[in-house]
Symmetry: C3
Subunit: 432 residues, 3 copies
C-alpha cells in the first residue's frame, strides 16, 4: 500500500484507514436488532455525523410484521462440572444466541447439547446465531471446544432481558439542491462481525461526513437500521417519502479482499444500475453484476413489488460465498483498509455519475455548430469526440449516461465536454 | 429398457408400449386423405376415446381449396410378361401411388416405366408417393426390383374408385373448467408409415385417454385429420371457434430415436413456445428449438397470417432429415417405445406448465410478509427461494412461467411454492 | 483481373475502368472548398450527367456557419538561397496549404520552418493540409526534403486570392416514379487525392449516368459538394426538401483495396442500414458494419439531431485507418479498378433492395392458397420456400426486406417469388 495518502480525509487510501479505525471502535459492542448495543453504536457515529436517533415502540405494527420486544444482555456463561467458566459472553459476544431469553439453571451434558451450536466443518470458529422471533436460548462455541466437553452437570447463566421497549435506528437527511433523494441504507444490527456489517456502517458514515462537506445536487438520506425489521419499519412509517427516492444503495460487506459485486435493482435498468455498471466496467478491476433476486439484505424490502424502488446493493464478496461469513472469523483482520478505500472510491464514482447525469439540449440541432470559431477544439483530436457525441446526442432524449453507454466513452469525459459546451452557450439543460 | 414400468398406463415407459401396440394395430390399414382406410382408423381409435367422426362432402369449398373426391382402393398389382404378380398392393400399400385412378391395361416395359417410382440411392426401399390433385396413376417399388425388370408386356391393374364421397376426420372436445382450448392436431392420412404419422396418432390418442381421466383447467380439442386439406377444412368450418384456442400442438414424428425438435409458432414467443422451451431446457436431453418457417405440417395452416394461432409443432427428428422418411423403412421397427414414452412425457410436462401457469397477486406487496410466523420456511434454505421469487414477482404482471424464466428456477418448484402461499392466504389468483 | 468485361458500361468490371478513367481526368485539378478548381471538376462531370451548378455567395449564413470567401490559386513556390525552386505548386498541388493567403517575401530558414508541414514518420510523402477558417499560409513537403534544407534566405511566393465570391456545388435530381428520394452525396473538395475522394466522385457520376438510363421507382438526388460546409449549405437552403429523403448514402473512399465498411445512420436500423447489412452479409466478402458515431464525413450533418436523416456512409477502408490517407501517396496507383467496380456493384445491389422493397398483402390470409392448381410450384422444392415465406408473412406488416431478414433467404429470391405471386393474383401491394 502506498502510504502517502494515509490520513488524507475522504479520498485516496486514507479513507480506508478512517473507516477501519471507526469499525475497530464499534467492534466490541454487542448489537442486536434492538437494545442498548445499537444505541451505543449510534452514539459513536454521532461523533462524525449529526444523525437523529429514532425509537419505535415494541408492538408497533409495520405492514405484516410487529416491532419485537427489546433485548438486552448483561452477562452469560457456561460453567463446567468443575465450576470453570468454559464459555463466556465477555470474551466473545457471539457465544450467546441473539435474543436468548434469561436462564439460570444446571443441566446434564446431554440436555445442554440441545442448546449448543457449532460449525463441525470449521472447528475453530464460533458461529453467529439469532432467534429473534422464536423464544429460546442457546450458546455458540467452536466445535473443537464442544468435542472436549465431558459428562457432568453444567451451570448455565444468561442474564438478559426481553421486554417491551423500542427498536432504535439512526437517520440523517443531508439536503441538497433538490429534494430528490439518494438513499444509503446499511444494517447495523450484528454484534462483533467486521465485514458484515461494520464495514457498511463505517463506509456509510464516512461517506455521509464527506458528502456533507461538498456541494450536492441531490439530497442524501442515510439509514443505519437493523436488518429486515428496520427497513420494514422505516418503509411503513415513511411510505409517503419514498416517491422522492431517485436512486439508492444498500451497502454491506465492503471490507473483504474479494471483488466487488453489484446487485441490480428489481427493475434492472435504473439509473443507479446503469451508473454502477458504467463505473465498474471502467474500473479496470474484476467485478460482477448480479441480476436482482429476492434473497439478500434490505434490498428485499426496498425492491418489494409495492415499492419497487431503484435501489441496488453494493458489496464485495456476497454474503454466504465466503466461509468467514457469520462466524468469529469475520473479525477486524478479515477486512482491509485497501478494500474499504476501494469500495468507498467506487461508490463515490457512482455518486459522481448520478450527480452529473443531466439531459442537455444542443442549441444547434440542425448541422453541427462551428466549434472552430469558439476555440473548443483542442489540438489533440482525442478531446473532439466527447464534444461531438454530446452535441449529436443532446436532442433532449438522452442523458449523459445514455451517451456514455452509446459512445463507449467515459462518463467523466462527456461531463467535461458538456460543461465546456454549456459554458460556450452551445448547450442548455433540458427543462424535463 | 427398464421393464418395471411396462403396463403402467399413462405414465412411465408403459405408455410407450401402449402407443406402440395401438400403432401396430393401425399399421396395416391403407389410409389416404379420404376413404375407408381413414374411417377404419377412426373406428379403432374410438375404442380408446369417444371421438366424433365428421364427414365433409366432396366439392365443399374450403377457403382457396375444394374437398376432393373420395378415393378407395381394393386391389392393385403388376404382372410380368410371365404372368407373375411382381408388384402387389396386398403386400405393401405403399406400392400404389395414393389417389391413383383405376386402370386395367397391358403395357410395354418402356410405357410402364413412366408410371414407376423408385429410390435409386436407397435401392431396397419402396417410396411413398401421392397424386391427390393431379389425376394419374403409378406404382412404387424398390430400385433393386426395378432394375431386374425384363422387356415384355406387363399387365397393370388398379382396382380403385375416385368418386364423390366425403372427407372424414375425427374430433374430440374434452371439456375442462374453462372453455379456453388447447388444440392437439395430428395427421392420420398416411398408409403404412409408422413414424409419419401413426406415432402422432397413437400418442395423441393415449394423451386424450389419460387427460380424460384427470382434472383439467382447459378444454382439449383433439383432431385426427388428413394433412393440409383436413386442417384447412376444419379451419374453414370452425373459424368462429378459433378465438378460444389458447395454445396448440401439431404432433408428428414422435417415435424415432432422434432428439426432440420443437418448432415455434409464427408469433414465436407464445405461452406454448415458452412452455416447450422451459420443459425441454430442463429435460437434461439434447433438443432443438426451431424458429417458425412456413414449410412443414399443419402448423402451416394454423399459423397462416389470417389465423396466426399460438400453435407449435412437436416432433423428434423433423421430416425430411431422416432417410427412412416417406419410405417403406418407416416401419414399426423404426419407432421405439422408449422414444414414444419420452415424447409423451415431454408433452405431458408442457401441458402441466400450461395448466399451472397462473398469474398471482401477493397480498403483501409492500415489504415481504413474515413467513416465519406462518411456518412456510422449511428448515432447508433450498425451498425458500421459490417462495421469495413468487412473492416478489406476483404483482399481477407476471405468470409463474414469467417467474420461472426470470428466476431460472424450475416451473414445478414455483408452482409448489405458489400453492403453499395461496394456502397460507398470502397469494390470490389475479382476476385478469 | 478478368479482362472480358472491360468496356462493358455500367456493369461488371468495366465500370471500374470507367470510374478510374474519369478519376484520372480529374486528378490534376487543384480543388478546394470553393474556387475554380471545383468549377472545372463539375464541368468534366457535366459531360457524363446534366448536373446543375449552384453558386452560393460568400457571406451567406448557413445555420451556425458562414459561406467563406472564395479561394483561388495561380502559382506558388519556395526558392532556396541559391534561387532554385525547391517546392513548386505546379509539381503537386498538395505543396500549398489550402486557403493560404497570398504572400511574397523572403525569410530565414528558421522563420520559414514555422510554415512548413511534413510527415516525419512517412518521410517520402507530402501531407495534405488546409486552413479554411484561420487566415494563414503554409507549404507541405516531404520530410526527406525538409531535412535537406540549408541555412539561408528563402523566397516564398503564394499567388492566391481570397476574396468574396461563391461556394460552388453540383446537383442532379433524377426523377423516378415517386418523389421519394434517395440521396447520394459525395465530397469533391480535395485536390490531387485519388481515394479521398475522386473515387466517390467518379463512382457517383457513373452511378447517376447508368441509373438515368433505367426505370426507377424512386427519385435520386446526386450532390457533388465541398465537405462539411457544402452539406451544411445544402441542408440550410433545402430544409423543406429533406422530408422526401427516404434513404441516402455518403460515398467516400471506395477505390482502395481494403474491405467495405458501411457506417450506419444515427437511427441505426433504417431501411438503408438494413439493405446494406443484407447485401454485404450475402456478398461472400469480408466487410464491416460500423455503428454511427458523430465523427466522419457529411453523414455528420445529415445525421445531426435536427435532421436525423436515414443516411449511411459507404466506404472501403475508413479514412484515417490507412497511412496513405491525406498524403501524396493517395494517388491513382493507390486505387484499383477492381475495388471501384466492386464498390459500384455493391451499391447497385443495395439500391436494388431499396427499389424492390415493397409491402405486399396476400389475398389468402386464412390458410395457404392452393399453389398446385396455379402451376407456381416448380418441380425443384428449392423454389417453394420463397413463395411460402412471402405468402405467410405478407399480412401487410412486413416488407420483403423484413421477410428476408426473418427467413434468412436472399432478397432477390423473395422479390422473384413476390413477382410470380403478384402475377398469379395471389398478392397485391399494400396501400400503406
Amino acid at each position: 500500500m502506498d502510504t502517502k495518502d494515509i490520513g488524507k480525509p475522504g479520498s485516496g487510501k486514507g479513507v480506508g484507514f478512517e473507516i477501519h479505525r471507526l469499525m475497530g471502535e464499534l467492534f466490541p459492542i454487542c448489537r442486536s436488532i434492538t437494545g442498548d448495543g445499537f444505541r451505543r453504536t449510534l452514539e459513536i457515529l454521532h461523533r462524525h455525523i449529526p444523525l437523529e436517533v429514532r425509537e419505535v415502540p415494541s408492538g408497533t405494527r409495520v405492514f405484516d410484521w410487529t416491532v419485537p420486544k427489546e433485548w438486552n444482555i448483561h452477562d452469560a456463561y457456561i460453567k463446567d462440572p468443575k465450576g470453570e467458566k468454559i464459555v463466556d459472553f465477555r470474551k466473545s459476544n457471539l457465544h450467546v444466541v441473539s435474543y436468548s431469553v434469561p436462564i439460570h439453571t444446571t443441566l446434564s451434558l446431554e440436555e445442554l447439547k440441545r442448546h449448543l451450536y457449532t460449525l463441525p466443518d470449521l472447528p475453530n470458529w464460533i458461529p453467529y446465531r439469532t432467534s429473534y422471533y422464536n423464544q429460546g436460548w442457546g450458546f455458540c462455541l467452536s466445535h473443537r471446544q464442544f468435542l472436549a466437553l465431558e459428562e457432568g452437570d453444567y451451570e448455565v447463566v444468561i442474564d438478559s432481558t426481553l421486554a417491551d421497549g423500542s427498536l432504535t435506528y439512526g437517520e440523517w437527511l443531508l439536503r441538497g439542491e433538490t429534494d430528490e433523494e439518494i438513499l444509503i441504507s446499511t444494517h447495523a444490527c450484528h454484534p462483533s462481525l467486521a465485514n458484515d456489517n461494520l464495514s457498511g456502517v463505517g463506509l456509510a458514515t464516512l461517506l455521509a461526513k464527506h458528502m456533507g462537506a461538498m456541494p450536492r445536487r441531490f439530497s442524501y438520506r442515510f439509514l443505519f437500521i437493523p436488518g429486515t425489521i428496520g427497513a420494514i419499519t422505516w418503509l411503513a412509517q415513511n411510505e409517503h417519502k419514498t416517491g422522492k427516492i431517485r436512486n439508492g444503495l444498500v451497502i454491506t460487506g465492503v471490507g473483504d479482499r474479494g471483488d466487488i459485486a453489484y446487485k441490480r435493482s428489481r427493475r434492472g435498468n435504473t439509473e443507479i444500475d446503469r451508473a454502477a455498471a458504467h463505473v465498474l466496467g471502467r474500473s479496470g478491476q474484476p467485478y460482477r453484476l448480479l441480476d436482482f433476486h429476492p434473497y439478500g439484505y434490505d434490498e428485499r424490502q426496498y425492491c418489494s413489488p409495492g415499492f419497487n424502488l431503484p435501489v441496488g446493493r453494493f458489496s464485495r464478496t456476497p454474503f454466504g460465498e465466503y466461509p468467514e461469513y457469520h462466524t468469529s472469523a469475520d473479525n477486524m483482520e478479515f477486512v482491509s483498509a485497501d478494500s474499504l478505500a476501494d469500495s468507498y472510491e467506487m461508490i463515490r464514482s457512482i455518486i459522481d455519475v448520478l450527480e452529473g447525469n443531466r439531459v442537455y439540449v444542443s442549441r444547434n440541432q440542425k448541422c453541427e455548430p462551428q466549434l472552430g470559431k469558439r476555440e473548443l477544439y483542442s489540438s489533440a483530436g482525442a478531446n473532439e469526440l466527447p464534444l461531438l457525441w454530446v452535441l449529436n446526442m443532446s436532442d433532449g432524449g438522452n442523458s449523459l449516461l445514455d451517451i456514455a453507454e452509446r459512445s463507449g466513452l467515459e462518463f467523466s469525459a462527456l461531463k467535461k465536454a458538456a460543461d465546456s459546451l454549456a459554458k460556450a452557450n452551445l448547450l442548455e439543460e433540458s427543462g424535463l
